[in-house]
């Protein structure tokens, strides 16, 4: 892959670097929730993420955009532990989680919805919804949480329907609901509105905003729909060729000519 010539050779610590590795290692807490340090992922000879320092503050809602193949999904999968990092470290809540198993990361508060929806097709909506919740809630509390999760996903009345029979949008809603019901501190969403109709997009935008504002959940959202991005996020990070290309408020990023050229298209 050819390097973009506008890419600055050495990047100053951008606004996104919340905390240095040294700070992380000594456990000096700031409001930084997630910080990657020089994260590299190679597939064979191909480098999908290249020395990425990506940070998210507590309660922040950050969108991750960038061209197809930029390494966005890969970055999130490194954070969840689905992929093992080739190099670099991941710090979360003051701890180095680079070597933790995926389920341990989840138990510490990281939750993710993958790009391709994969609800448990043969289980009913209610069983799907109960699964994350039963890990930590019992009895009446559990029932209540399950009910709330189903309601928030707009699936009241579908409790006993097999999840495979839901529409695409409903499955996305259910997935977000399940990921959110773990009450994570950090929720990662990979293209939550791809393939959804306008009404559903709005519903999800509203949902994400509410979870972020009311429950204080920090988000990283990957999305190609820039209108959607604009409607939920203030800050975006642009990834390109596996590297952080630009970060900043959505309006500034959209106006950046280089971003327009590599990602948005000239005429936008």
């Amino acid at each position: 892959m050819s390097e973009s010539e506008t890419e600055p050779e050495s990047r100053p610590l951008g606004p996104n670097v919340r905390q240095t590795a040294a700070e992380m290692a000594t456990g000096d807490r700031t409001d930084t929730l997630l910080q990657t340090d020089g994260l590299v992922k190679r597939f064979g000879g191909f480098t999908a993420t290249d020395d990425v320092d990506f940070g998210v503050a507590e309660g922040e809602l950050r969108c991750l955009i960038g061209p197809n193949g930029a390494g966005k999904s890969t970055l999130l999968k490194l954070v969840t532990g689905t992929y093992e990092a080739s190099e670099g470290h991941i710090y979360y809540d003051g701890h180095d989680i680079t070597d933790l198993e995926p389920h341990e990361r989840v138990q510490r508060g990281i939750s993710m919805k993958f790009q391709v929806p994969s609800v448990y097709g043969d289980l009913s909506v209610r069983e799907n919804a109960r699964l994350p919740i039963q890990r930590f809630a019992d009895g009446a509390e559990r029932r209540e949480r399950v009910d709330r999760a189903i309601e928030a996903a707009g699936l009241t009345g579908y409790e006993h329907v097999d999840a495979s029979a839901l529409s695409h949008g409903q499955q996305q809603q259910l997935e977000i609901g399940m990921a959110a019901s773990l009450e994570p501190d950090l929720l990662l969403l990979d293209e939550p509105v791809a393939g959804l109709d306008v009404a559903e997009r709005e519903a999800i935008a509203e949902r994400v905003t509410r979870l972020n504002e009311e429950e204080g959940i920090a988000f990283v959202v990957i999305e190609h729909d820039t209108d959607f991005v604009a409607s939920i996020a203030d800050e975006v990070t642009v990834l390109h060729n596996g590297e952080i290309f630009l970060e900043g408020p959505i309006d500034e990023v959209k106006a950046d000519p280089a971003v327009q050229r590599i990602y948005l298209g000239e005429e936008e």
Binding site: R42, F43, G44, G45, S86
Partner: protein
Amino acid sequence: MVNGINLALQFLDSFAFIVLAAAGLAIIFGIMGVINLAHGEFILVGAYATTLSATKLGLPLAAAMLVGTLVTAAFGVVVERFVISGAVPNWIGQRTVGRDFVEPLYDRLADSMVATFGLSLIMVQGARVVFGNSIDTVGTPFGNIAYGAFSYSTYRIVLSGVSIALLVGVYYIFTRTEYGMTARATIQDEETARALGVDTERIYMATFAIGSGLAGLTGALFAPTLSMQPTLGDQFLVEAFVAVVVGGPSVVLGTALSGGVLGAIQAVFTNLYGTFFGRIALLAAAMVALRFLPDGITGFIETVQSRRQEGE
């Protein structure tokens, strides 16, 4: 005492046995996702058809082997139509009650296992009822070669040559030809393949026929060296599955490599400690290989290749 030539011949022998045992299965299991517990009985068909055409019809051995292979391939087509794809029962179903009776067994590992287990019971007992508890065998051709105090059956050396040629042929067919690519695409996503104009029914049938034909060829090739009984297929089954699975995702290359690795281990241990340890070593090696190479040998090779590229 270990003698170099003995060891080499022993290796070739083990290698040929494993590769030939696995060849048909590599296609039917590795490519089509059907666990064929009747694999041994397909080999039986090949062996019986070969032997009977030689002893009863008086065909020369080479011609009889060709007959054995073709008969098994044809038999495979019948099994595919009636059982594996369910095409025949479904054709009847559509015409009588207006719906399909059965779902194809492709990529349904466990169900295909039960169905082919049933099939194997039918075939073994069927062979017994029709041909009795044994049939007369044909002799082994080509005599032997002698070296020092030792001598070795030439035919078994020929077998290892054939097994290598067969691997090369199958590898070529499935990776280099249009048919091979189409077959792999069909197994991965039948619907999309159909939308791209592939007659998937024919592909399934042809692939199953090739897999069966290879099993038949194995039976044909071993017919002169084994005793002909309805249960003769049993001895191939375990080696076949182990070789295919240890081989990993690239089935043909994988089968060659696992035949090589497992054959070498068996040969060395057999030579040093006798047949029992040779067999135990083969099985133990298979378990260890699967544990430490969770994606089989070819999966491991892919990983190593990408590590090497990373290093560059």
